[in-house]
Symmetry: C2
Amino acid sequence: MSQAAATPAKRLPFLSERHIDPHAYPDGVAFHDGQYLPMSQAKISVLDWGFLHSDATYDTVHVWDGRFFRLDLHLDRFFGGLEKLRMTIPFDRDGVSEILHNCVALSGHRAAYVEMLCTRGASPTFSRDPRQAINRFMAFAVPFGSVANAEQLRTGLHVAISDKVRIPPASIDPSIKNYHWLDLVRGLYDAYDRGADTALVLDFNGNVAEGPGFNVFCVTDGRLTTPAVGVLPGITRRTVFDLCAEIGLAVKAEAIGVAALRGADEVFITSTAGGIVPVTTIDGAPVAGGKVGPITERLMALYWKRHEDPAWSSAVHYP
Amino acid sequence: MSQAAATPAKRLPFLSERHIDPHAYPDGVAFHDGQYLPMSQAKISVLDWGFLHSDATYDTVHVWDGRFFRLDLHLDRFFGGLEKLRMTIPFDRDGVSEILHNCVALSGHRAAYVEMLCTRGASPTFSRDPRQAINRFMAFAVPFGSVANAEQLRTGLHVAISDKVRIPPASIDPSIKNYHWLDLVRGLYDAYDRGADTALVLDFNGNVAEGPGFNVFCVTDGRLTTPAVGVLPGITRRTVFDLCAEIGLAVKAEAIGVAALRGADEVFITSTAGGIVPVTTIDGAPVAGGKVGPITERLMALYWKRHEDPAWSSAVHYP
């Protein structure tokens, strides 16, 4: 404790009244405590259980060319997570939908990444009983950011398989979309160390699970597979199932071993942040010919085409 | 999408410039972006990876009767976590120590719960690459809050054993003190449903792991044991080992089955927030005679006595 010796001669620092924020924020609009605000104002207390215990759920939907994509499915998942975590918010589905529309319209973004979230909140006395906390709903719209840039979408991602194990369902139910990502973040650093763009982590049986913010598919002999358990039930993952059903491709959720992934004809990942993104290199070795495969290309085209379909999308009403 | 029909006739809501905060906060002082501030100002952006991906580490130390308790051990653990997460902060151990002292001194609290934390931060462009984020250090001091109230300290806690499984070390290294608590929070709700005060969750082998913010010990035939793996290496847990060594009690970290815990002569939990706290009921059944045991009582007394010892504590220099 150098402090014990040093302090007596020192004066205490000044206690400011209001925080001066030196940081920059992306251009966007948040809904917070009933107010629509710039992103610089979208902050939560460090005492909120949503931060202090990652006791929160959320969902992310995207807006493309001025239209929400499959918002209903995202709302289903979000309200499902709230119920499982025993959280309540003062808005129904239509109320949340209206708030999300307002955030995007006020932001003016034609391509946006839109998040709705609820934290456990906090009690004014900093009680340790979560039942005394008041749950807090927030939402925000920022510019659309993809897991892949234009070059990566064209030539495919280089993915490394990390030995980190995705948090298992016995600990955290993955159908509650959650912010527990330290396993994925550490997998990402493993990937960077090996010169890859992003990572896949394993499940508890040593099979392939998912990556930071995405599910994974492989195509072998014209048949698609994606990991079945211990992964987020992604909306883009589901969209691949829906598209496959429409065009008569076989797709199944089942265990995928690391060797099966490496030996696949095509590999791609799915995410709200980027859609369907090809993977052409795994741990430095090319997937099949190392080029984006025909089934991946076909699904990518269909995926973006369906963003205009009123059955799967809804227009934002900009001012 | 009811919105599609409803919006055209509606005007967009007003976009405010600054958030008006309707919430109350505990009395305390935070250090944030180089500024000392009231707790109402201690907030992080929702875009910080520390919130969005729970990509953060922290440590909590307590001040009792105007003295920090074992601050050096908490600083060791915090700086260890930073290194493992590849985070850097612009302060060394003495710098952090000085900031913590200042927070407590400015707060005036003689009994305080003091937290230091570091988040991954964010990049102004909301980049998905954590290497582009600027790590953010914060600290705060709020009134000391115990996991147990005075009555519970006297008569012992009622603990329920949840079937939730603590996030395993293969996913998250528990020596990195982290905010991944949804398993513990859900265990807590299981406990409330059964009329208990708090919960214990299991490890992957079905043995006892830990609870929300505490380690657990049992005493059987005069010998102490505590779970060995997959648990936070708690400073109060370590303090029990140190006290046992001084007074010649046998203590060992090893697997503890649920039956062994239920059949113990004494059970207690350890936490920075409360010290050593007796457990006298497990799932509705009394532990041994249902009274606080003699070894638990002896360790509790020693634990608090040592808060005056300059070898284990350091005075806060209040103005």
